[in-house]
């Protein structure tokens, strides 16, 4: 069967692990459990009546102590950049990481997801931030691992 490796990258606690759990198992938890290293999941998917396996690499977040090892991205068919809409600085992390990733694995398709859209009162991103994404012609979506909003669509859009 065709296998496609997809990596989740972004700052810590933006919701990478939660998005994968929502997408693969359909579950969500509010408890924060730090990922150290890489967590791998797979999800079967059918695109244009062809079965394929998505191999999802949930990579630990970027912070002062753990830097993302770019070698982990080797062989990725695509990647998802995850920002936390309630922490503007995580969008800067996304911009920085994307440049590094592209340097490492070349230009493969990617998608940006602005997660935690359910937290409307804490939402920090505004028009200017979205403009920055549009100006770069980056495909992005808002979503929530908690409610499931946009999650399925994000993966689907990426794979197509």
């Amino acid at each position: 069967m065709l296998q496609k490796k997809i990596c989740m990258v972004g700052a810590f606690a933006t919701g990478k692990t939660s998005l994968v759990a929502r997408y693969v198992q359909g579950i969500y938890s509010d408890k924060y459990q730090t990922t150290v290293g890489v967590k791998i999941d797979k999800k079967k998917m059918t695109i244009a009546s062809q079965d394929l396996n998505l191999i999802l690499w949930d990579i630990h977040g970027e912070d002062e102590f753990q830097k993302i090892k770019l070698s982990y991205l080797r062989g990725s068919a695509a990647y998802i950049l995850v920002a936390d809409g309630t922490r503007r600085d995580t969008l800067c992390t996304v911009f920085n990481l994307q440049a590094k990733v592209e340097q490492t694995i070349g230009s493969v398709p990617f998608m940006t997801i602005l997660n935690k859209y359910d937290l409307t009162t804490d939402w920090e991103l505004d028009e200017d931030d979205l403009d920055q994404l549009s100006q770069r012609r980056w495909p992005y979506c808002v979503g929530s691992a908690k409610t499931g909003l946009g999650v399925e669509e994000c993966f689907k859009q990426l794979v197509q």
Binding site: M1, Q3, K4, K5, F12, A13, D30, Y32, Q33, T34, T35, V36, G37, V38, K39, I40, K42, N53, I55, H60, G61, D63, E64, F65, Q66, S71, Y72, R74, G75, S76, A77, R87
Partner: protein, 314 residues
């Protein structure tokens, strides 16, 4: 290669095989399985069939083979809920090797540390984010407190900060946006408190209470509280140099120390921090005596600092 005697090599190899559950396989450059052996059971990948594409069986290898020239090392690869492997992949001219070692226990240790680091970093962010979010019924804070439900006696230092509306005191018109000013000041001072392991506890009117010694720390609470206080006074003085008539910092501080009862009370779905004890009462009693730009230190805090100095400089 290090010159290690044969018996020692044997001993080390036995130890690794016993404790780390090595599993290995060898593939062709086209990714077909040649040989496999070792503890594949441990990783729930058994049985493996020869001559078939290896990524069909070990799906996590998708994208990683054929092995690049430089060996790949993934220290922690979580395959299932409770199985974490250390993975090595390296190339030989005709075939590639994959080796797995069990790293579940080592990962658990690292997660503990990293979790604390990340939680504190999120908490710090939250506390430096302004008055409304700073004060605490906060799961992140609760998580870091490790308190038994019935509460605990702990040696803590209380820092009470009092805000003065100085222009008003001086008979001038009040600051245009006192709440906003307070908020800006709080964003300035809360990172200084967090840096020293303090926690913003409560805010009532123009008083803010922080506690030192509740979060995990390596240093003595009175010392941390004094360092934080000095830095706060210094920084806020700087901030207000141009905005107040007599260039005075509109904050006054009190430090008290002693054994307090500290606990987390269930409130609604969350838990709220409660602190009780004489040092807190003392700090509140001193409220009226606080002067702008000054720091009052109670006897016990002072004695503790003195003792520490003796230890340090004896």
């Amino acid at each position: 290669m290090l010159d290690v005697p044969q018996p020692l090599i044997h001993f080390l190899a036995t130890m690794v095989i016993q404790d780390r559950f090595p599993a290995y396989l060898q593939t062709t450059k086209e990714g077909r399985l040649l040989t496999a052996g070792g503890a594949w059971d441990r990783y729930h990948f058994n049985p493996l069939t020869g001559h078939q594409p290896v990524t069909d069986q070990l799906w996590f290898l998708a994208g990683l083979l054929p092995a690049p020239e430089a060996a790949i090392h993934i220290p922690f690869l979580q395959l299932e809920e409770n199985i974490i492997a250390e993975v090595h992949i390296f190339a030989e001219p005709e075939q590639d090797w994959v080796i797995l070692l069990d790293a579940t226990a080592e990962n658990a240790k690292q997660v503990l540390i990293q979790q604390k680091v990340n939680d504190l970093s999120l908490l710090r962010r939250k506390q430096s984010h302004g008055l409304d979010q700073a004060i605490q019924p906060d799961p992140v804070a609760a998580h870091n407190l490790d308190l038994p439900p019935e509460g605990e006696r702990k040696f803590l230092t209380i820092l009470l900060l009092k805000y003065f509306d100085l222009p008003k005191l001086a008979g001038e018109r009040s600051v245009a946006h006192p709440i906003k000013q307070l908020d800006t000041d709080l964003s300035t001072l809360s990172p200084l408190i967090m840096d020293e392991g303090g926690l913003l506890y409560q805010s009532i009117g123009s008083a803010i209470v922080a506690i030192f010694g509740a979060l995990p720390t390596t240093r003595h609470p009175p010392l941390q509280a004094v360092v934080a206080s000095m830095r706060i006074l210094e920084l806020l003085q700087d901030h207000h140099r141009f905005s107040t008539a007599d260039a005075l910092c509109p904050w006054g501080l009190v430090l008290t120390s002693g054994t307090l009862i500290i606990g987390l009370q269930p409130v609604g779905f969350g838990r709220t921090l409660t602190v009780l004890g004489q040092p807190l009462d003392l700090a509140l009693n001193l409220y009226d005596r606080i002067e702008a730009g000054t720091l009052i230190i109670d006897n016990l805090t002072f004695d503790q600092l003195d003792q520490m100095q003796n230890i340090l400089y004896r």
